[in-house]
């Protein structure tokens, strides 16, 4: 690695002195390098690094593979916990589920949508992905079961009832289904005045157990569909999916999204984003998501603009870690 001093001037890095008469700032400006050079093969460095990283990647892949936990479905949920499924189904029908009153972008529930001070960006964006849980999650899927006369009658009766009648049936059923049991392959709910609602929820539970509901919620105008918004929202309204996530240390209180099933490192680079959810005031705020996103937006912008922020750009010079990096240079 011979030093090639004669190249020094020619190869000097452009300095700060951009021609302006600004005052010298050591955190912004540099003097042109007038020292020596040594031979260095960048292509060889890249090829060596590429080979080394490739070997390391293959070794990690062979040793640890990658996680692939089977997804949950409405079928697996309703087979594992039919009563829990029915309890969620009635909340989709009566509009009390988390999705039903989520607000934008799924519906226009008054005052729903998080705010940043007086501004709600969610409400400004609006309900661009409309979801009517009663229609989309319950009634329309049931209407596809055309070979069940009793269900057809129940749907007709429900549709022709007044809102008040529907609400009375739904409220009665929602109270009763909390005491429901699953006996001999059927949902058993205490006797009551549920009108057609009992038939509808029972049919939906059976439909889910058969696997047909998973497909019905993907129904679109096309043959192909790749949008899983509806089945995921339905799944997320129940506790089954959250319980599975909890057993895999994926709950929000367990640093949620940055983790991955099993013992894999996951998205560890999201640690700062996830951290805010663990500490006050974010952890107690009803606007936690919007506050965390606003905080991260400011921090990301600051990170990008570090070279222009007085004080922040002085940190490297003050902490002097560079002396370790350039120790050979300073020693010589």
């Amino acid at each position: 690695m011979a030093v090639v001093d004669q190249l020094s001037k020619e190869k000097s890095s452009p300095n700060s002195s951009d021609g302006s008469k600004r005052k010298w700032n050591p955190d912004r400006d540099v003097k042109p390098w007038s020292g020596g050079y040594f031979r260095y093969d960048l292509i060889k460095e890249f090829v060596t690094a590429l080979a080394g990283v490739a070997i390391l990647v293959v070794a990690l892949a062979v040793l640890f593979s990658s996680p692939d936990k089977t997804p949950v479905t409405l079928q697996s949920w309703s087979r594992s916990d039919p009563v829990g499924f029915a309890q969620t189904a009635i909340t989709e029908l009566d509009g009390t589920s988390a999705t039903a009153h989520y607000g934008p972008p799924y519906n226009t529930t008054p005052n729903a949508g998080q705010t940043l001070g007086p501004v709600s960006l969610a409400r400004i964006a609006g309900a661009r992905i409309p979801v009517n849980t009663a229609e989309s999650f319950v009634i329309q899927p049931l209407e596809t079961l055309s070979d069940q006369p009793s269900l057809a009658t129940a749907l007709k009766r429900f549709a022709s009832a007044t809102s008040s009648e529907q609400a009375n049936w739904e409220n009665s059923y929602e109270s009763a289904v909390s005491k429901a049991t699953w006996n001999s392959g059927a949902l058993s709910v205490p006797q009551g005045s549920y009108g057609p609602v009992a038939t509808m929820v029972s049919s939906l539970t059976n439909m889910a157990r058969s696997g047909a509901l998973d497909g019905a919620l993907l129904r679109s105008h096309q043959f192909y569909d790749t949008n899983y918004t509806k089945p995921l929202l339905f799944l997320n309204d129940g506790s089954y999916m959250a319980n599975v996530a909890g057993s895999e240390h994926l709950q929000g209180t367990q640093w949620g999204m940055m983790n991955e099933t099993g013992s894999f490192p996951g998205q560890s680079w999201l640690w700062l984003y996830t951290m805010w959810y663990q500490i006050p005031p974010f952890s107690h705020s009803g606007n936690a998501d919007a506050l965390v996103w606003a905080t991260m937006a400011i921090l990301t912008l600051a990170f990008i603009l570090v070279p222009f922020i007085p004080g922040v750009r002085s940190i490297p010079r003050r902490i002097k870690l560079y002396k370790l990096i350039w120790r050979d240079h300073y020693r010589s």
């Binding site: 400006d29 050079y37 990647v57 990690l60 593979s65 790749t226 995921l232 799944l235 998205q267 680079w269």
Partner: protein, 209 residues
């Protein structure tokens, strides 16, 4: 008929500008300033190497489609190389980033180099995130339903629907890799254009250090 007085063509002007900005000895130098003597410098090229393997393994996965790796042992292995190259990519990039911060590598007109690197990091987080959403397993389901609340809270979720597999998959394999590729390419060209930032001058003068 071409004469010496002819107006320069657009092509000629662009070529001349590129050659002025990046003469071959700057684009592919075979020597470096003597202060370039630390292991920290290796993490830049390690990051690029890991990115190359991310792209290669992702391309191999794309050949057979998104569901292949769930049913094929070869597919699972390729997916594993994709996962671990991403993990290494971020590890190397973060060390590279902290190293460059410690060197105040934006000095001497290198702010654009820092900015393109920082934006590359931010976009890479998005690219990896959409990859996790495209796995078609429980992780992608759970990450989607968790992430939707943050995105919805600031109105982004209305346009960027993390539960729409088709949308996320296209972002992951087309849009974000293209942006990362362009940014990283630009970042490397800026590094070559400006060279590696010299040490803090005050220490050289005073002999401290």
């Amino acid at each position: 008929m071409t004469t010496k007085e002819a107006k320069p063509t657009w092509t000629g002007s662009v070529r001349d500008a590129l050659v002025r900005a990046l003469p071959p000895e700057h684009l592919l130098p075979d020597d470096q300033p003597s202060y370039v003597s630390s292991w920290i410098y290796v993490f830049g090229v390690l990051t690029v190497s890991a990115l190359a393997i991310v792209i290669l393994s992702g391309t191999l996965l794309a050949l057979e489609g998104p569901a292949w790796w769930h049913t094929s042992k070869v597919g699972l292995f390729i997916n594993s190389t994709h996962l671990w190259s991403v993990e290494l990519f971020f590890l190397f990039m973060v060390v590279h980033l902290w190293g460059k911060f410690a060197m105040a590598a934006w000095r001497g007109g290198r702010a654009k180099t820092w900015v393109t690197g920082a934006v590359s990091f931010a976009v890479s987080v998005g690219a990896a995130f959409t990859g996790y959403l495209s796995q078609q397993n429980f992780d992608s389901q759970w990450i989607a339903v968790q992430a939707k609340d943050g995105l919805n809270s600031v109105g982004i979720g209305a346009y960027f629907n993390v539960m729409n597999f088709g949308q996320m998959f296209m972002w992951h394999i087309v849009l974000l890799p293209a942006v990362v590729g362009i940014l990283v390419g630009l970042h490397i060209l800026l590094v070559r254009h400006k060279g590696v930032v010299p040490p803090f001058e005050e220490d050289v003068r005073s002999g401290r250090g």
